[in-house]
């Protein structure tokens, strides 16, 4: 399996700790090797891109240059969608022209060749070898769990930078969820923006974005939302309670829709516990649904077992009837043959007698 350099991002040990924990849990079990880039720095995210084009490309380039020096030959993987877009934006700029690359080297004051590619964890997992390794480790299929796979914007847009999956209807996470037995629903908000940092800067304008995502997931029959970005997770999971408070005031039904990282659900299918995967520290209660669906899956399995036994019984019964019918038919055929034989013999005897006369 391909080895990667790992860019954790600033939220890896704080608000995104469950993503890190579950990623490490899954990576270890499937032999997905990644080594943290030494002394990496913040990618700058939208704050840098809104401040200056030079800053946008320079901040990620330092970490990429360190990775090139310390972990040569390895592509860079990052779990966070925001980090992914920043790093990839810088890389695409560096690869556009020799002039750009030279400018970047000047800005970071380091040697840099832009040799390594940058992928998100989701993209790294969107690979036959990884999928095969995952399916081999599944001990418990998450059947009956209806998931709305939420990719967010930075994973797929701008398409010219991200160059990953379909920007309007991506499928890579849906495929992974099917692999572990969960049931992805079709819904319209797969790549709709969660509001990102604007949930802090302009909360009044940005809050409806979250509410609409929940609304569409629920309307399409999802039990939960599955994310691939720590900022999407924070905006949805942490702010669900506040949104529910305002819904109650407006006389609307509150949501009860937990959010998970895709790695948490894969880890769960591997037999991991909610504590090992960090599901126990989510803001919106996230454990009850999983237990309910585990019970539902067991009930479903039991019903399927009963149905299979009943089918087998019916099949056996019919097979027995067929065998009896066949035996009856064979016996009749034999009897008829015997009778015909006796008749022929009788006729021959009569013929003989006639001839003698």
């Amino acid at each position: 399996m391909k080895k990667y350099a790992f860019f954790p991002g600033c939220s890896a040990q704080t608000t995104g700790v469950s993503f890190t924990r579950s990623t490490e849990y899954v990576a270890e079990r499937i032999g997905f090797e990644m080594t943290e880039i030494p002394d990496w720095n913040c990618c700058g995210t939208s704050a840098a891109s809104l401040t200056s084009p030079e800053l946008t490309v320079a901040l990620p380039a330092r970490s990429l240059a360190i990775s090139e020096r310390e972990l040569p030959g390895r592509d860079v993987v990052t779990a966070c969608a925001g980090c992914f877009r920043s790093l990839k934006t810088s890389l695409v700029y560096a690869r556009e022209s020799e002039e750009n690359l030279a400018h970047l080297r000047e800005l970071i004051d380091m040697p840099y060749e832009a040799k390594a590619n940058v992928v998100s964890l989701l993209e790294a997992f969107d690979d036959d070898e990884v999928r095969q390794a995952i399916s081999q480790k599944v001990v418990r299929k998450l059947r009956t769990l209806k998931v709305a796979c939420y990719y967010g914007c930075a994973m797929v847009r701008p398409a010219g930078i991200c160059n990953f999956d379909d920007p309007e209807d991506p499928q890579s996470m849906d495929d992974l969820m099917r692999l572990i037995g969960a049931e992805p629903v079709d819904w319209a908000f797969k790549t709709e923006c969660c509001g990102a940092a604007q949930q802090m800067a302009v909360p009044k304008q940005a809050r409806p974005m979250i509410e609409r995502i929940f609304e569409n997931a629920v309307a399409n029959g999802a039990d939960c939302i599955v994310t691939s970005c720590p900022l999407c997770m924070l905006n949805l999971d942490m702010r669900e309670a506040e949104i529910n408070r305002s819904r109650k005031i407006r006389g609307e039904e509150p949501f009860d829709i937990p959010c998970y990282y895709f790695t948490e659900l894969i880890g769960l299918a591997f037999g991991g516990t909610v504590e090992e995967l960090g599901i126990d520290i989510h803001f919106h209660p996230a454990e009850l649904l999983l237990l309910q669906r585990e019970l539902d899956a067991l009930n479903l399995e039991y019903e399927e077992m009963i149905a299979a036994a009943e089918e087998k019984r019916k099949k056996d019964e019919m097979a027995a009837k067929i065998a009896a019918k066949k035996a009856e038919k064979a016996a009749k055929a034999a009897a008829a043959a015997k009778a015909a034989e006796a008749k022929t013999a009788a006729e021959q005897t009569a013929e003989g007698e006639g001839a003698a006369r």
């Binding site: 600033c10 939220s11 040990q13 704080t14 608000t15 700790v17 002394d39 990496w40 720095n41 913040c42 700058g44 995210t45 939208s46 704050a47 840098a48 891109s49 809104l50 401040t51 200056s52 084009p53 030079e54 800053l55 320079a58 901040l59 330092r62 000047e106 800005l107 970071i108 004051d109 914007c153 847009r157 701008p158 398409a159 920007p167 790549t191 709709e192 923006c193 509001g195 990102a196 940092a197 604007q198 802090m200 800067a201 302009v202 909360p203 009044k204 304008q205 940005a206 409806p208 974005m209 609409r212 942490m238 520290i281 803001f283």
Partner: protein
């Protein structure tokens, strides 16, 4: 859409709008005002100008309307506008360029958005990484929204997601120097363009 006295638009205004477009890497004349950007924008309902209108005012040379607009500061940079534009106008990039031009002109129509980004970069400049808890605290103090997300801060603390420990990288001085170089290069580019514009 408001009325606009086109006779009051000066050649300088038109040039300032063209500069924003060139900074954004777009030709605003490509836009035929179909409105698909606005239809897909998840924040349109909270904006004072629709994304389509920002492009329209740039086409007209109405620089003051554009620089005073809240829209580019409310934009979350999700790129849905650019990705759906049938004419490949990078509206998202225009929003960035307008915002930066607005800031250079000494304006900040949505102070909170400006404070957030400045505090974010200051945090990275000081530590090499973003320390979310200190960023949030600094944002609240500077924006005057002291209690914003206070309940969430408590929830994060009880979950052990954040603490008082400041995360610093070893190369933070390198990062600070990098940020200074990048911002100096940015300023130099704009200064050069202004001189060029003045000569022309």
């Amino acid at each position: 859409m408001r009325s606009l006295d086109l006779t009051r638009i000066s050649p300088q205004d038109v040039r300032a709008c063209q500069e924003i477009a060139s900074e954004a890497g777009v030709d605003v004349k490509d836009c035929y005002q179909c409105g698909k950007c606005t239809a897909g924008c998840p924040l349109a309902e909270g904006m004072d100008l629709m994304p389509r209108e920002v492009i329209r005012f740039l086409q007209l040379g109405a620089i003051d309307v554009v620089l005073d607009a809240k829209t580019p500061w409310i934009c979350a940079q999700c790129d849905v506008c650019s990705s759906r534009c049938p004419q490949n106008v990078d509206i998202c990039s225009v929003m960035r360029a307008v915002r930066q031009a607005s800031k250079r002109a000494g304006k900040r129509p949505v102070p909170e958005a400006d404070i957030f980004d400045d505090e974010f970069i200051a945090n990275v400049r000081a530590h090499g990484v973003s320390n979310e808890q200190y960023l949030a605290a600094a944002f609240n103090v500077k924006s005057g929204h002291l209690m914003q997300d206070a309940d969430n801060a408590v929830r994060m603390l009880t979950r052990g997601m954040v603490g008082v420990t400041m995360h610093n990288i070893e190369g933070r001085a390198e990062v600070a120097a990098l940020i200074d170089r990048a911002l100096a290069a940015d300023a130099a580019r704009h200064a050069a363009r202004e001189t060029e514009g003045g000569e022309a």
